[in-house]
Symmetry: C2
Subunit: 277 residues, 2 copies
């Protein structure tokens, strides 16, 4: 199964660490994630970076994951051009499909590059969304499944975390920004699906903690942790971070739904708009 995930967020918010934690291996070397500001000629454009990883879950299901990272997003004084690079990339993948569909002879080796899900990493400010967050999410949400994520959740106390989640959701409603909210149908879906999706919806924005450091846990397994002088956090502990829940929603339970939503709703809408122009 193929799945394409895009990760957008300001540099230093922990995107590469999250990618390594998601894949359980060193996919991105975190020291290389920032374009050297010394060539800060104004031509310094955002360059998207793609990694392809083969994952296998406990039941032997293979997922071929493409991850598109945005090193340096939001670091400049004027971020307008970074916005368009990201949006153009997503549109370009739709255009490729449009082109392929209209060809008489199909290309057997055509790769579908459509982005099935975009994680937007929010820097928790304690005051909800910043203007730059509102703008980019507004422009993305009609094109791709957007799931907001609070980065470095270990820098928030329990009460700050509750406050941040509440304020972010209020802002998303206030600005009418549609996000992927684990949709279900009360008439069709069974009780179990409705419960699972309601629980996931209540976690949005997912608060994640990532780490590249591993220690041997109490039962002998390797666990990823962040170690502070005042205490240690296990990033896979569901009480301390939504990381494990988000990972299994993306790669197992909702992988199909995210793909279908992209292909049947978002792409079709794009196609109708493009063809009727």
């Amino acid at each position: 199964i193929q799945f394409t995930l895009m990760i957008v967020g300001q540099s230093g918010t922990g995107r590469s660490t999250f990618i390594n934690s998601l894949c359980g291996q060193q996919v991105v070397d975190t020291s290389t994630t920032i374009p050297d500001p010394s060539d800060s000629s104004s031509e310094k454009e955002l360059t998207l970076r793609t990694e392809n990883v083969e994952l296998e879950d406990n039941e032997g299901v293979k997922v071929s994951l493409s991850i598109i990272d945005t090193p340096g997003f939001g670091d400049s004084i004027d971020n307008e051009s970074s916005f368009s690079i990201i949006i153009d990339y997503i549109r370009h993948q739709y255009d490729e499909i449009l082109l392929e569909e209209s060809r008489i002879r199909r290309n057997p080796r055509f790769k579908d590059g459509r982005v099935h899900c975009l994680l937007y990493f929010i820097v928790p400010t304690g005051h909800g969304l910043r203007e730059i967050d509102v703008e980019i999410m507004k422009r993305l949400s009609g094109l791709v499944n957007v799931i907001p994520v609070i980065s470095k959740a270990d820098s928030l106390t329990k009460s700050e975390l509750t406050l941040n989640k509440k304020l972010i959701m209020e802002d998303l409603k206030h600005y009418n920004i549609p996000i992927y909210n684990f949709p279900y149908d009360l008439d069709y879906d069974d009780e179990e699906t409705i419960d699972a999706n309601t629980a996931l919806r209540a976690l949005i924005p997912f608060a994640v903690v990532g780490s590249n450091d591993e220690i041997t846990g109490p039962d002998g397994d390797l666990i990823r942790v962040r170690q502070y002088p005042w205490g240690t956090i296990d990033i896979e502990d569901p009480d301390q971070s939504d990381f494990i829940t988000l990972r299994s929603a993306l790669l197992i339970s909702h992988l199909q739904d995210l793909k279908e939503h992209t292909q049947e709703i978002l792409y079709e809408k794009y196609r109708t708009d493009a063809l009727s122009d």
Copy 2:
């Protein structure tokens, strides 16, 4: 004694919490620090906010502190206008002095609003300075004493903190950004001053942790702490944050030097440039 401190940094980096911790009282209500993005008409300009606080240290020395905060700095897509609002404010204070100096009859109630020190709050990215940090510090450093500060230092492990400090200092050198570095003169200053200033210089950028929550400490005093499920941090513990060291440098040991440096070097340079134009 009067002292004017300006605090610049992206919203949500903990500026208001730092102000409250510095003054040991609730000076700024942290829930009001962000301009409501809903009036995000493009005219939304950065508005500087000034607070005046009377402080008294253990030896009865009174300091009348003016603190200028910049709510919403760096949150927009294009931050150019925020930059100029901050720079214009600092220049305006110098212009007022210039005007006052040239008046025949002095105004007895004239208030000197020159900014003696500017703390620049850096969001730790693990990769050194972002382009927006480099730009604003470049433009500020000839005008005012700039001291870089790493905000929310409790989100960094010991090794990340060392790495962030090293990378930020390398970037400051690489871009030739002069900061206030606790100057001393090997010929004039005594051993004690040289040692104290060398130690302070080695701490730059100061890593601070702030908090609005207080609990009763082991010896019955009230201490400001951040409480996580995995551990508690005392913000005044010098092993865990440079907050106490920075506070005493600003309000006690280097208050005079910062004022003199502003009046005798930075203002004089501004005056020579302005009059020779």
